[in-house]
Amino acid sequence: MAESRFANLKALVIDDFDNFRISLIRMLQEIGFGRVDSAINGRDALRKCRALQYDLVLCDYNLGPGKSGQQVLEDIRLSGLLHAGSLFVMVSAESGKPIVMAAYDFEPDAYLTKPITTKTLGQRLGTLIRQRLEMLPIYRALEAGEIPQAIEACRVYLSGQGRARNQCQKLLGRLLLESQQYEEAEAVYRSVLEGRDLDWAQVGMAIARRGQEDWLGAMQWAEQALKSSPLCMKAYDLQVDLHRDRKDYFAEQDALERAVEKSPMSIRRQQQLGDVAFYNRDMDVAVEALRRAVRLGEESSYDNIDTHLNFVRASAAMMRESSEFPYARDVLKVLNDFEQRFGDAVMNKVAVQSAGALFKSAAGDAPGAHSSIESARQITQEQSLLPSVLIQVDWLDCYDNLDERDAYQQLLEQMQKHYQSDQQALEVMDRLLANPLSETNKRWLTELNREGIHHYENRQYDKAIACFIRLRRKFPRHIGIKLNLIQAYIGKLKRQDDAKLLEKVQALHLSLRRDVPPESESFERYCQLRDALRVLVDERENDNRAR
C-alpha cells in the first residue's frame, strides 16, 4: 500500500486513547508517511507542532479532560503552526457533524468518522493529498504571502479539470473577499449558486454585499443562507456583524442569542453575547453567557481578561436586583484564580480587587468590600496610576451599594471633571448620571424614547414598554424614562386588568418619591400618574365589590 507520494510527508496523530493512537500511527506508517509522531493531549500536540511543521494533523475531537480537538485546531491555526497547504483532519465518533463542531473561525479540512480502517484512511487521505498536490501552486503563493498570484493560480486551476474544484472555488472566493475585490468575489459565488443554493456561497454573497456597504442586500443574503441551511452558523455570525455595523446593539444581542442557542460551545459567541448584553445592561443574559465563556476559556486561546471581569460585574449587578443568585461560587473562583491566570501585574491586582469589592458590596459583605476597595485605591495612589474608567465605575457602583453617598459623590465629580471631553469614558459613565452626557447616548436616548412614545400613541403598549425598559436599564437614574414607563404600564392596565402588574407599577411609582421633590419640574407629571394609578385601584375595588 505504501506510496512514494506520502514518503516525504510528516504526520501528527493526537488521541488520548492509547489503543486508537497506536492503530492510527500504524495505519499512517502502512500508508507510507515518512514520519509519524503522536501526542496524547492538546498541550503535547502544541509542543510538537512548535518543534516541527507537519503536513497532516489527525486529531480526535474528544480528547478527554483538557483541550478539545476544536481548541487544538484553533490554537494551531491562530499561532500559525501549520503551513497553508497542510491538512487538519478531525476524527470523531459520530457520523454527521453535530452542531458543537460548528466552529467560529476555523474549520478542519475534513472529518473522519470512527471506526477507521487502513483502507478508509488511505482512501480519504489519498483524495485529500491528491487535491492538495493539484493545488500546490496556489498554496506556494499563499505561503509566500503573494495573494494576487494565489488568486491567479486559483483561476488557472478552475479553468482545468481538477477534482478539487469545490475547495478551489471556496478559497478563491475567500481570497477575493479578503483583498476587497467584492465584485469579482460575487462573480465566483454567483457561478456556484447557478448550480445550487449552497449556504457557503450565499454567505459569501452576503459578505461581498457588506463590503460594498449594501447593508440590506447583505442581510437578505444571510437570511437566504439560513433558509437553505437553518444551522449555518456563519450566516448568524454575519447578521451579528451587520447589526453591529449599525450600532444596533439590541438587535446584535438578539442575533447572538439565536446563534448561541444553536451552538453553545463556541467561546467567541458566548463572549460576544456576554459583552453586548452587559453593555445593554441585560444582566440575566450577560451573566449566563459570561459564565459559560469563562468555563470555555479554561482551555482556549480566546480566553480574555475582560470576560472574567465583566462576569463579576454582571453578577454583582444581578445580585443587587434579585435575592437569588445561583453562581456565587463561580464568581469567587474567578476572583481567586484571576492573578494566577492573567499574571500579577499591578493593574491586574487593582482590577481584581475592584471587581471583588463590587461583588462583595452587592452580596452584603460591607467589611470585605471596604477592605478590597481601600486596597485597590491604595495601590493606585502609591504607584500614582490612573485606572481605566471601567474600574473607577466599579468603585462608584461599590460605593453606591454600600450607600456611601460622600465617597460616591466625590469620586463622580472628580471623574466628570477629568473625562469631560472623553466621549468614550462619558458613554460608560452615563449610566450613573441623571442625564447622559455622551453624544452617542444622548442621540440614542432621544431616538428610542421617540419610538416608545410613538408606540404609546398608537396604543401599542407592550412595544412602548419594551422601549422604555431598555432605556431604563441603560439609564436607571433618568427620571423622565421611568415616568414614561409608568405611563405606558398604565395604558396597558387600562386596557386589561392585571393585579400583579398594578402592584409592581405602584411600587415603581413609590420608589420615585425621593427623586421627584415638589420643586422638581417632573413633580406635576409624577402627581398626574399617581392620580391615574389611584383611579385604576378604585376601579378594581369597585369591580371586586360588584362581584
Binding site: S23, A93, S95, K97, P115, T117, S229, E324, P326
Partner: protein, 230 residues
C-alpha cells in the same frame, strides 16, 4: 441570599444519547482490534468466526450511529452540510470501509459509478446511509451485492441491490417514510430505512425532496433499495 446552583433535571433522551455515544466508542475499539487481528495469519475457521464478530460489531455500530443522528435530528442539532461532491469519492469510501466484511463472508461486491459524476449532498450523512444499506444487503444476500449510482431526470439515484430473497411484501407496499414501526416478531426495527428516508428527506432542491424506495427483482433478483437525491 447566595444559593447553590440548581440541581439539573434528568433528561432521559439526553442520557440515552450520551450513553449511546459511549457504547459507540467501545464498538469502535472492538472493530479496531478485530482489524488488527485480521492482519495476523489465522487458520480459516478462526477467520470465519472473526468475520462474524466483525459483521455483528459493524451492525451494532451503524445502528448506534443512526440512533445518535436521529436524536440530533429530533433536537434540531443535526448539521446538514450540502455541498458539491464527486459521487465516486463518497461511495468508494463506503466500499473500502466494508471490504473486510464482504471478503470474510465471501460476498462479491460490484461497484459502478462514473468517476466524473458530481452531485449535491451531505457526504457524511449519505455515506452513513450507504454504509447501512451495504451492511443490510450483506446480511440478506446469497453471494452478490451491487452498488451503483447514476443520474435520472435531475435526481441522483444510488442503488444497493442483492441476490437474496428480497424485501417482504408489506415493506414494498408502503412508502418508506411511514415504516418506522418496530416489529419484535421479525426482529427488525427498520430503523436503518427510517434513517435513510429522513436523510433523503432533508435533501431538498427547488421544492423537490429526496426519498427512498424498495423493489424486488432486477438487477440481481433479490432486494433493491434506491436512494434518490434531487
Amino acid at each position: 441570599m447566595i444559593t447553590v446552583q440548581d440541581k439539573p433535571t434528568l433528561d432521559f433522551a439526553f442520557v440515552l444519547a450520551a450513553s449511546v455515544h459511549d457504547m459507540k466508542n467501545s464498538i469502535g475499539m472492538l472493530l479496531q482490534t478485530l482489524e488488527n487481528l485480521s492482519e495476523l495469519s489465522v487458520p480459516p475457521p478462526v477467520a470465519e468466526e472473526m468475520g462474524v464478530l466483525g459483521y455483528e460489531a459493524a451492525r451494532i455500530n451503524s445502528e448506534l450511529v443512526q440512533l445518535l443522528s436521529l436524536y440530533r435530528l429530533q433536537e434540531n442539532t443535526l448539521l446538514l452540510q450540502v455541498d458539491e461532491h464527486y459521487v465516486d469519492d463518497v461511495l468508494s469510501e463506503q466500499v473500502a470501509r466494508n471490504e473486510l466484511m464482504f471478503r470474510s463472508r465471501s460476498i462479491e461486491l460490484t461497484y459502478t459509478c462514473d468517476p466524473q459524476l458530481l452531485w449535491y449532498m451531505d457526504a457524511e450523512l449519505v455515506g452513513g446511509v450507504v454504509n447501512n444499506l451495504l451492511v443490510n444487503a450483506a446480511r440478506y444476500c446469497r453471494q452478490q451485492v451491487a452498488l451503483s449510482a447514476s443520474l435520472h431526470e435531475g435526481e441522483l439515484q444510488i442503488v444497493v441491490a442483492d441476490d437474496g430473497a428480497g424485501f417482504p411484501e408489506n415493506m414494498l407496499a408502503e412508502p418508506v417514510e411511514t415504516s418506522a414501526s418496530v416489529s419484535f416478531a421479525t426482529g427488525s426495527t427498520y430503523l436503518g430505512l427510517y434513517f435513510a428516508a429522513q436523510v433523503a428527506r432533508l435533501h431538498v432542491n427547488q421544492s423537490r425532496a429526496g426519498h427512498i424506495y424498495l423493489r424486488n427483482g432486477p438487477p440481481l433478483g433479490g432486494g433493491k433499495a434506491v436512494l434518490c437525491l434531487p
